[in-house]
Symmetry: C2
Subunit: 196 residues, 2 copies
């Protein structure tokens, strides 16, 4: 029972790729089968239905990837403001899992699925919650060590920074160019500087 796991993973990965590109609803099961060369029988052996596969993608692929891209960089032991800046720089310019023309997969799914699928929303909410809590705690630590002003509201800054990230990915998508990321990062840097 090893090959089975391989086809399952193959399905998840290719399906994610398609969904990241075109959106969840625009990606049909037949699309996925055509690109994976997997038959319908195999697909429905592995997944009860399309939504179960979608949730598996989020839980088994997206979660770990986002953890290493969004969470781990914040845990580097450096100045919190540098950590946040470096995180964003890495996400926007260096991460080659995230493509400028397709935006942020978590943001895409949030926007598409939230109005009508509560299962997707709640797991996406968990992801952002986790990211948010970590960033807030990192900022709090900065206040304690004195590199950040005491009157800064950490949770507020977190929301502000995360919003900017999600938003600028939409601009990158619209412009289909990483060029917009440079001025964004410059302004982020001076904003973060204003918190000292």
């Amino acid at each position: 029972m090893k090959k089975a796991a391989a086809t399952r993973l193959h399905l998840l990965q290719q399906a994610f790729e398609l969904i990241y590109r075109k959106g969840y609803q625009a990606t049909s099961i037949d699309d996925i089968l055509a690109t994976t060369k997997v038959t319908k029988g195999a697909f429905y052996y592995h997944f009860k239905n399309k939504d179960e596969m979608g949730l598996a993608i989020i839980n088994e692929l997206l979660k770990p990837i986002l953890a290493s891209s969004f969470i781990e960089p914040l845990q580097a032991n450096e100045n919190p403001l540098d950590a946040i800046y470096n995180l964003m720089h890495g996400l926007l310019l260096e991460n080659d899992f995230l493509k400028v023309e397709f935006g942020c997969p978590a943001a895409n799914l949030t926007q598409e699925m939230t109005p009508w699928n509560t299962d997707f929303s709640s797991v996406l909410n968990e992801l952002t919650q986790q990211w948010s809590e970590l960033m807030t705690s990192v900022l709090e630590k900065g206040k304690q060590t004195g590199v950040i002003r005491k009157d800064v509201n950490a949770a507020q800054v977190t929301l502000f920074v995360m919003s900017g990230y999600w938003g600028v990915r939409n601009f990158g998508k619209l412009a289909n160019s990483k060029a917009v990321y440079l001025p964004y990062l410059k302004e982020l840097k001076s904003y973060l500087q204003s918190l000292t």
Copy 2:
């Protein structure tokens, strides 16, 4: 030939409502016909196809509405930083055309359509371009009148602010609550303050 214009408008308005809620691809023509009680013959008399209707929605409905919500408030003759803050406050908390649970219609369409429809992208790009240019010029004026530091990069600030707006709407959507808008606005205020 007056009733015809009325059914056309009715189609556009109801279709916009559905698309704003569920997305463009998830809104079928049959959906639109069911809610408007218009027949297919009438629909295809007014529009060549679905995409032509979609573009008509953007050009004839969305553009004017966004102009009055996003453009006009910036033209008020006040301190540029106040103008921007008040604009955002109005958009997030007072504008009753924009619904928290559905996000920003322009951002939604950008995210959904950009990867595969260039017609939609280019008209959406125009919209954001227009907004962006105005905000930048307002900031420049603030630099001239001395209420904003000379070393502030206006275009950079514009991108930063607009990104935050788009992003926070996604958070509001995910949380399905305007509650996130309050801390966002507080941080926006202190960020804008840091530009003086």
